[in-house]
């Protein structure tokens, strides 16, 4: 289910504490700090398209980059889950294919 872009941005920057990585391009890259020994998270968010929704394809792609399921990311973006839930989930099962 697509998520409103402004809502997604609030979740990434606020709830997850995503720090924007400065780049030349208009892309919005964020680093999300996670405790050791988890691997840091770097995600690209389409916030340079503020008038569109974040589509299912983009949500799936970001979820895979974060090592969580799409459902879990949707729950984070739509207020049901927070940073602590993310860390608990990654400690339990980090799905990143590395």
């Amino acid at each position: 289910m697509p998520v409103d872009m402004a809502k997604a941005r609030n979740a990434v920057e606020g709830k997850l504490g995503g720090q924007r990585i400065p780049k030349k391009d208009p892309h919005y890259w964020y680093k999300i700090e996670v405790p050791d020994p988890l691997m840091p998270i770097e995600i690209k968010c389409p916030f340079n398209h503020p008038h569109h929704d974040m589509t299912d394809n983009i949500i799936k792609s970001i979820a895979r980059t974060m090592g969580i399921t799409t459902r879990f990311l949707v729950d984070i973006l739509s207020c049901h889950k927070d940073y602590d839930d993310l860390i608990t989930q990654l400690k339990k099962l980090d799905r990143r294919n590395l």
């Binding site: 780049k23 050791d36 840091p40 770097e42 394809n57 983009i58 792609s61 590395l98």
Partner: protein
């Protein structure tokens, strides 16, 4: 020139599926004083969006002086809004655009940005070492 080679056929429109969903009516109905016009035809209510796999070929140049060392499998999908979404199947990075070349170009920029971000992160944080090793299997200077 964009170096992407399709590896599967795409079906942008499946007429056999949509014809059965067409409907015609010549009836006129009146509801609470509002007269609706006779419905004579509908555009197909559903259609298949573009969705196929492809490869970005080896030695494709990326921004920032980077080079693709191995071919990279990607999937190309059309979004319901008509835009295009291209995702690589190794790192799950994506590019978006109004058309396929634009989305592919966006993906190539994204790949080079990702390489640089992970490379720079190693200066202060060694937890990304595995990630960097995997990237350098595909991308390098």
């Amino acid at each position: 020139m964009l170096a992407a080679v399709p590896t599967s056929r795409y079906k942008p429109y499946d007429s056999s599926r949509t014809i059965s969903q067409l409907s015609w009516s010549t009836k006129t109905s009146t509801t609470e004083g509002i007269r609706s016009l006779p419905v004579q035809s509908y555009l197909p209510s559903t259609y298949n969006l573009v969705n196929f796999q492809a490869l970005i070929v080896k030695n494709t140049r990326l921004p920032e002086g980077l080079l693709l060392q191995r071919q990279l499998p990607i999937s190309i999908k059309q979004e319901p809004n008509g835009g295009f979404f291209v995702e690589d199947e190794i790192f799950s990075l994506y590019g978006i655009g109004d058309n396929i070349p634009e989305a592919l170009t966006d993906l190539l920029i994204t790949l080079s940005e990702y390489f640089i971000i992970v490379e720079e992160s190693l200066k202060s944080d060694h937890r990304n070492k595995r990630k960097f090793e995997k990237i350098t299997e595909y991308i390098n200077r």
